[in-house]
Subunit: 320 residues, 2 copies
């Protein structure tokens, strides 16, 4: 039985939207998958009853505390030992669930990723990534999107490999095109960081490095399937896309491309480079977004990304 | 008589689109403004004749060479002494024209800016900026958009002041809100560069520093009129906007906000921090874009931005 852990207490609309999303996912996950809800048992059961869904279709792990958005992530993760996130990571570290997803405190999710399941040996810095829609139809993976700023070139070069493995195993893209986000197409362009990263990526034989990609082609899909960038730039790209989506929507514009940009419906961003699948959802996730997050967690587990990454980095020479 | 210099030979559609744009601008500039065209006299006159416009409505400075996109900017600027850009900068440096605009080689325009008209004393690094449309209706100024990467915090802090002076004098915005592009709203967020820049901007009393602005609000107009960022980030923002504009248009979406994003129609980007108004247009500028560029050059000259910047930086203590 494959067990998909879901924090029922995290997110702006928890626990209602979370439990509703889990119910939506019930018929979409495989027969041998089971969703494990972490949270206030009475509240979870109340929502399930309102939804007309039997509670025994889920595993429920009762927890009594919630890490709030205002809490200090590291302190709360320890102090609130019976919070849905802390207990969820305990289960994940012990292998009692095979992946864990939450739309709650990003900080606490990162603390759990780094200290409970821990970085994969050989990975200098785990990363958070984001799938972005492209005009070509299939999504591209952008990483890092805000976890690591002032990245060393060695860290960015690893993101090329991590992203390539994810795109191949989870997205099913063969020999994904890996590009470095830069301010020119030519090799010599960029800042000190991107120039040094280019040198490392072009010698990485395990990836299909296609060179630089400019901002104009992040969403075109013409150049790259995996786009490597510093977290400062990636976070700006992501938030700018959100902002433009909102403006576009307010002005009555909209089509399938822009709808795919809707962060309220996107199913969360994977933490990559740690020893188990962890997915972080947007705080304002709708039930639909939670459903997508559950499914992408299942897909990430089934694709065996963690084992592939562990294998890829086991002989890694970079150390911090 | 105010003299607006225009390179008739620069840009993908030169000289036709350039001269046509100059003709469009004729009725829009003030009565005491005169457009000075630099380029192949016979070709310029042929376009004017085709447009049914008398050549004596312009000053024409005959030049015999053109700096091509493939040329090495610095070498070509010297070697092609009779090129439209080199001659134009000669006129600008001598005060025979009061501003110079071109949709030609950006590199050569920068060489001319730095070596013919030179940086303003006290300005560490001149910058190129871009006006971006906002949902609030009035544009915001983004700087730097690609000239300087790996900016020292002192350089970025100066961009706050430069942008503020430009927004006030050219855009007519009173006490423009100056913000630092960052990955969080809080003071402590960001990378090493943005944290150090924040410290400098908050003590700059000559500007209305409003703190950090995230990518989501670059185009909302809600937070800032002037947005300061490293050229690597600014260039990515600008190119991403271009890319999304193109995708949006191809998908049939479009409204006034997106149309304002159309780089083919935007009138060029000012080089700020040098001793004369210099405007660089997009290579693929249409006649309409050239017309806008001529008008924004006129506006920049009349606003006296150069003198204001010279005044602001005359006691500047930063040196490189």
């Amino acid at each position: 039985m494959l067990k998909i852990g879901l924090d029922a207490m995290g997110g702006d609309f928890a626990p209602e939207a979370i439990v509703q999303g889990a119910v939506l996912a019930l018929d979409k996950v495989a027969a041998d998958s089971r969703i494990v809800l972490f949270g206030d048992e009475a509240k979870i059961k109340a929502v399930l009853e309102a939804e007309g869904c039997s509670a025994d279709r889920f595993d429920i792990v009762a927890t009594t505390e919630v890490i709030e958005m205002g809490d200090h992530p590291a302190k709360a993760f320890q102090a609130k030992a019976n919070s849905s996130i802390t207990v969820g990571f305990g289960y994940l570290a012990k292998g009692l669930i095979h992946g864990f997803a939450s739309a709650g405190s990003t900080g606490a999710m990162m603390v759990g990723s780094m200290y409970a399941v821990k970085p994969i040996e050989g990975v200098i810095r785990p990363t958070i990534s984001s799938l972005v829609p492209t005009a070509a139809g299939r999504p591209a993976l952008l990483l890092d999107v805000g976890l690591n700023v002032d990245c060393k070139p060695e860290v960015l070069a690893q993101y090329g490999l991590i992203g390539s493995i994810y795109a191949e195993s989870v997205l099913g893209i063969e020999r994904p095109r890996v590009a470095l986000l830069n301010i020119g197409e030519e090799e010599a362009k960029g800042n000190a960081q991107s120039k040094a990263t280019y040198e490392l990526l072009k010698t990485e034989e395990r990836i299909n490095f296609v060179g630089n990609v400019e901002g104009s082609h992040i969403f075109s899909g013409k150049v790259a399937d995996v786009i490597v960038c510093d977290g400062f730039v990636g976070n700006t790209v992501l938030k700018m896309a959100e902002g433009l989506y909102r403006i576009n929507k307010a002005m009555g514009g909209g089509n399938s491309f822009w709808e795919a940009m809707n962060y309220e419906h996107v199913g969360g961003t994977p933490v990559l480079g740690v020893n188990a699948p962890v997915i972080i959802g947007h705080g304002c996730s709708s039930a639909q977004a939670i459903c997508s997050m559950v499914l992408s967690t299942e897909q990430t587990i089934r694709a065996g990304v963690t084992a592939r990454l562990q294998q890829a980095f086991k002989n890694e020479q970079f150390t911090e």
